[in-house]
């Protein structure tokens, strides 16, 4: 099928850009490593336990964060906003009988998979050398459900980023808008620290936002802190948020394309 061809083509491109991809991986790895170091010191001076988090659980958290973040968080919004909409490359897509969403999806996924690959390599290295620092669930069912949660998280974040990208239909410099959400995501997706360590009022807000379901919940699912019921709940919430995002996307797309083709850029 044609989408499969696109997927393969992008896989090839990704392979030739291995070095660049590795740099992106390092870019994700650095802040998480720094934060891990921070918590290590904080935990030591607090008797090894802060609100239920220990050195091993927090190191697992940040390790999984580095790995999952590079896999889950797509960077598609810049490509959509700058190249396609502002520079007009979108016309190329509009004349094709393919879904823009799916085309971008199959173009982006190989990159994410390569990042995920680096992540798995790091994970394996850790299980070999730092086993005591790693606390992941050993229960196969929970593990499987966590994988589902991770994949749904990718779809959720991808759709959200696509909507962000579409904002360029109406905003002349969408970059500021994107950066605002970057900042929000850092806090509310658990990229800075586990949501349960936020000040209580803030934590309550973030649990109700879609961003928590992009990174935070996948991580703690994998850590095995959630029981079956809670995992099913997470999956349900992800599906609900994906539906909401999909709806918002289709509305934005219809309105945006109408504007784009009516006036052009």
């Amino acid at each position: 099928m044609r989408y499969w061809k696109i997927f393969l083509l992008n896989c090839q491109t990704v392979m030739t850009e291995r070095a660049k991809s590795f740099v992106w991986f390092l870019v994700a790895l650095i802040p998480t490593s720094v934060l891990y170091l921070y918590w290590r010191g904080a935990l030591i001076s607090n008797g090894g336990n802060i609100s239920g988090w220990t050195i091993s659980t927090i190191s697992t958290y940040y390790l999984m964060l580095a790995i999952l973040y590079s896999f889950i968080m797509a960077h598609i919004e810049t490509s959509v906003a700058r190249e396609d909409i502002q520079q007009g490359e979108l016309t190329k897509f509009l004349v094709k009988p393919f879904s823009y969403y799916l085309l971008k999806f199959f173009a982006e996924t190989p990159w994410r998979m390569l990042e995920g690959f680096y992540g798995i390599v790091i994970l394996l290295l850790f299980t070999l050398f730092f086993k005591n620092l790693l606390v992941i669930t050993a229960d196969p069912i929970i593990f499987l459900l966590s994988l589902i949660i991770i994949i749904l998280a990718y779809i959720l974040s991808f759709t959200f980023k696509m909507i962000l990208g579409l904002s360029a239909f109406w905003l002349t410099d969408a970059r500021g808008f994107h950066q605002l959400f970057d900042a929000i995501i850092i806090i509310s997706a658990g990229l800075l620290l586990p949501l349960s360590l936020l000040p209580d009022f803030l934590a309550q807000i973030t649990y109700r936002l879609p961003f928590a379901y992009m990174v935070y919940f996948p991580i703690i699912s994998l850590q095995g802190t959630q029981n079956l019921q809670q995992l099913i709940y997470i999956i349900m919430m992800q599906l609900i948020w994906i539906s909401i995002m999909a709806y918002l996307y289709s509305v934005a797309w219809k309105k945006g394309v109408g504007k784009f083709t009516g006036i052009g850029q």
Partner: protein, 260 residues
């Protein structure tokens, strides 16, 4: 020397004029500066919610570290960042040739061509917070003067690190995202140097330069700096500056021998 000064003031003027041509971009840059400046404070605040002592630093001291970080990073972004972002573009599109044809030191042209006025807001934000935090124990005039000197030394050190890594683009032209990596590396400077001591010796000495950029000037302001800190700081800065220059010249020779 005077000539370079004149060239630089001309560039400053041209950069100021370009500022006003793109109104939307100008406002966006300011919002960006303020946003990320605020984020640095918010994150430290959040991180210190449930702990009050990290590596011997209190919450207030960490916030002061963040304020100083914003001042130093703000100054760095103001003078240098845009130029580093242009590095890979210049080398990739062969514009380095044009620069080499000018009767001016190419490193100067690569480093000082653009000036980002909007980063001034970040510096101001940092100064405001620093003043608030130091209100109870204001530093002496001598301390402030020494701080300014150390700040410049820190910026020079950061510059040298960035320059050395960016020079790699001459050989590895497709690594245009190395700048994004450098922005993250700067992030190390937001935390106290002591935090990195827990790494093994190699990692620590590798990271040492960037970790002292902000820590040492801050320690000066809260009177916790030692003489050893100063020597280490100055020495590292000088060594890195010389290395950056030598590596650049070496890479230029490579460029002019191997390019077509």
């Amino acid at each position: 020397m005077k000539r370079y000064f004149k060239i630089y003031t001309t560039l400053l003027g041209m950069n100021f004029q370009t500022l006003t041509t793109y109104r939307a971009n100008f406002i966006n840059s300011i919002i960006s500066s303020i946003l990320w400046g605020s984020m640095t404070f918010i994150t430290i605040f959040i991180l210190t919610t449930r702990t009050n002592n990290v590596y011997g630093w209190t919450r207030e001291e960490l916030l002061l570290l963040t304020a100083i970080y914003n001042i130093i990073i703000g100054a760095f972004h103001m003078v240098f960042s845009k130029n580093f972002e242009r590095f890979s573009e210049i080398i990739h599109f062969g514009r380095l040739d044009g620069l080499l044809m000018k009767p001016v030191d190419p490193q100067f042209l690569m480093s000082f061509w653009f000036f980002n006025y909007t980063s001034l807001f970040r510096i101001i934000a940092g100064v405001v917070f620093a003043v608030l935090l130091l209100n109870s124990q204001p530093p002496s005039l001598l301390s402030l003067a020494l701080f300014a000197v150390l700040g410049l030394v820190g910026i020079a050190l950061m510059y040298s690190i960035w320059y050395m890594i960016s020079t790699l683009i001459i050989k590895f032209t497709n690594l245009s995202n190395i700048i994004d990596l450098l922005y993250q590396v700067n992030g190390f400077a937001r935390f106290p140097q002591e935090m990195f001591r827990q790494l093994n010796v190699f990692a620590f000495s590798f990271l040492l330069p960037i970790t002292i950029v902000v820590t040492v000037p801050t320690k000066l302001l809260i009177s916790k700096a030692t003489f050893a800190d100063f020597i280490l700081f100055l020495g590292t800065s000088v060594i890195f500056f010389i290395c950056a220059r030598m590596f650049w010249k070496f890479s230029l020779r490579y460029y002019t021998s191997a390019s077509g």
